[in-house]
């Protein structure tokens, strides 16, 4: 080639058009829900006939919605802490430890991602039913830890790979034991990665629907499960309001996660290696 491949031939234009069409198609339903949620009418309607926050008010006034939300938040928090702690430990073991069959373990870690959620849901239902864990906070938290764990492990693994392991040797040579080396040196350095692992674990738990559908009971249910029920009984604009708030929460978490990642990159930036003074 005599010139850099740049500028717009017709093929390139078409490619862009298709790419943007896909993005719009993906986002459109999510974006449409927001105006529908502020419609004053009793049924879902687009375009909205006016502007009203009555369905948001209805959500906050409804004990069932709030209970489901709080239950989801509790399960999400426990799942986030659990997945982060276990994920960090597992990532450390994979990177620093002498784990037999490390390849196998690394493959198994991906398990919950590749196994169809519905299969996982049935399996968990059968086991949890025996253990009387269905409809309990502990049951939801455990199920969500399993689902969030792969993401937590990979996020922390990425942070560990960026981290200079020689710093751990330096800490050991300074008289710190393994535990204190982790606490004073490794953890502060990988903290942004650990924090973003926690955030994503929370989101994965908070909007998880399939497994929750199976392990809920009549009283204890998560927010997504409650939304499913509402769609079955009456399709009220409260649903649109809840969906909009969920989307905003997810976006907020993504932005926060992005911020953590930037922080992680800055932390990992190598200390000046140049000579001279």
């Amino acid at each position: 080639m005599t010139r850099p491949p740049r500028g717009g031939g017709p093929g390139r234009l078409l490619l862009h058009a298709v790419a943007y069409a896909v993005v719009v198609f993906l986002l459109l339903p999510t974006i449409l829900v927001a105006p529908m949620s502020v419609s004053p009418e009793k049924y879902l309607q687009f375009p909205p006939a006016g502007f009203s926050l009555r369905w948001y008010a209805a959500y906050f006034a409804d004990r069932e919605w709030i209970e489901a939300t709080l239950f989801s938040a509790q399960a999400g928090l426990i799942a986030a802490v659990g997945a982060t702690v276990v994920g960090t430990m597992a990532a450390l073991a994979l990177v620093r430890g002498r784990v037999r069959g490390r390849m196998v373990v690394e493959l198994l870690v991906v398990g919950p991602v590749v196994v169809p959620h519905i299969a996982l849901a049935v399996a968990m239902f059968l086991v949890f039913e025996q253990l009387r864990l269905t409809g309990t906070l502990l049951g939801f938290a455990m199920a969500h830890i399993v689902l969030a764990l792969p993401f937590a492990i990979f996020t922390v693994l990425a942070a560990l790979y960026r981290f200079d392991a020689d710093l751990e040797m330096a800490a050991l040579s300074c008289g710190a034991g393994r535990l204190r080396t982790f606490w004073h040196v490794t953890l502060p350095m990988i903290l942004p990665g650990v924090a973003s692992a926690g955030l994503f674990a929370f989101i994965i738990s908070f909007d998880e629907a399939v497994v929750s559908f199976f392990i809920s009971d009549l009283d204890r249910k998560t927010l997504p499960r409650k939304m499913f029920e509402d769609i079955d009984f009456d399709v009220s604009p409260v649903l649109a309001a809840v969906a909009t708030m969920l989307s905003l929460l997810t976006i907020a978490v993504l932005v926060l996660g992005h911020f953590f990642r930037q922080m992680a990159d800055r932390r990992a930036a190598p200390v000046a290696e140049a000579g001279g003074r």
Partner: protein
């Protein structure tokens, strides 16, 4: 500061150390004694095992067999944080999320020393490495040389009995490196700590160390003061690794005991004299090693090797003449500037020679 390495506290001994990685022996039966307060350099090319020995002393590698003793105590299997050693790494390894003074105070914190005392000792250590006033900075705000000084301060702040250094100056540029060599040497003499220093740079080893241990392929070649290594290398490897050496293969014309002069019939013609390093039986293959500055060039005569100057390289302090002595053999001769010796021009016919005590004959390994 107190004399941290005085007495027997700072003694380091490595006994019959072997470290295998799979079928490869990185360290192959090395024994070495370092006296308290001594500065010993482990010198060798990459893959010689020098870093593995240091890591075994530090506790980051456990040997396949053999022992490590510090202060007369067997620490072969003790974890690194229980050995009370100071360590400076090749890369500066300062904790980026801590300030300079927090970095230096870290080992004191790990030893349960109170905040006020920590701060005072860290500031004192900072002054020792001439970085007063830099305590509040982050490591990333310092230059390479300053960072390595902070790493040094962190390694000596708790007055360890032994200081281990793994090529600590290799990331610095040449001028700064030479300055730091002397600075570390002076600091070591002032605080009296035992130092084991790994380097691949022979000049650095010779400049800094009381004794140098030369390693090749996991084996200890020779341990001695810089002068001994240069003047009396025990193996051809040491002769070739430390300084510049001309090697000429040949056969001993007569038997000689160690230290006696031996006449050698050179492969490719001619005869030369050298001092036998070990006992040399008559007729055995030997290698004659002679330093360029010990080679004398003169007008051709009966008791010198006839040669022709192929090249004369002027380098200010000295001129290196490359003499072709036939049989595809070339010898380097170095003529120091200002000595009034003849400056030979390329093409000149010369006689090449040396005194027996200036050359060494190594019996070739059977």
């Amino acid at each position: 500061m107190a004399l941290g390495g005085a007495g027997t506290e700072g003694r380091v001994a490595v006994r019959d150390l072997v470290k295998r990685f799979g079928p490869v022996a990185a360290v192959d039966g090395v024994s070495l004694d370092v006296a308290a307060g001594e500065f010993v350099a482990l010198l060798g090319p990459s893959g010689s095992g020098k870093t593995t020995i240091l890591m075994a002393i530090a506790g980051f590698e456990f040997p396949t067999s053999g022992r490590v003793e510090i202060g007369g105590e067997d620490v072969t299997w003790a974890p690194p944080n229980k050995r009370n050693l100071g360590m400076v790494f090749q890369r500066y390894t300062l904790f980026p999320h801590m300030s300079v003074v927090e970095n230096i105070a870290f080992p004191l914190k790990m030893r349960g020393i109170g905040r006020a005392e920590r701060e005072a000792k860290a500031q004192a250590a900072l002054a020792t490495v001439r970085l007063e006033g830099y305590g509040a900075r982050r490591p990333s705000q310092l230059s390479g040389g300053q960072q390595q000084r902070v790493a040094l301060a962190r390694a000596i702040v708790y007055r360890p009995r032994v200081l281990l250094m793994d090529e600590p100056l290799s990331a610095l540029d040449k001028n700064l490196r030479e300055e730091m060599q002397l600075e570390i040497k002076h600091l070591q003499q002032r605080i009296g700590v035992t130092v084991v220093f790994v380097t691949h740079d022979q000049t650095e080893a010779m400049t800094m160390a009381d004794r140098v241990a030369v390693l090749d392929r996991g084996r200890l070649q020779q341990v001695g003061a810089p002068r001994d290594l240069y003047e009396a290398p025990a193996t051809p490897f040491v002769a070739g690794f430390i300084g510049e050496t001309n090697f000429l293969p040949g056969r001993a014309k007569a038997a000689a005991v160690a230290g006696a002069p031996v006449a050698v019939a050179l492969d490719g013609g001619g005869e030369a004299v050298a001092t036998a390093v070990g006992a040399v039986p008559a007729g055995v293959a030997v290698r004659v090693a002679v330093r360029p500055e010990r080679v004398a060039l003169s007008p051709p005569s009966a008791d010198t090797l006839p040669g022709t100057i192929a090249e004369a390289i002027y380098a200010g302090v000295a001129t290196t003449c490359i003499a072709d002595i036939g049989g595809d053999r070339r010898l380097r001769a170095r003529i120091a500037a200002g000595t009034g010796l003849v400056q030979w021009e390329p093409g000149a016919r010369v006689g090449v020679g040396w005194r027996a005590e200036d050359a060494r004959a190594f019996a070739a390994a059977p």
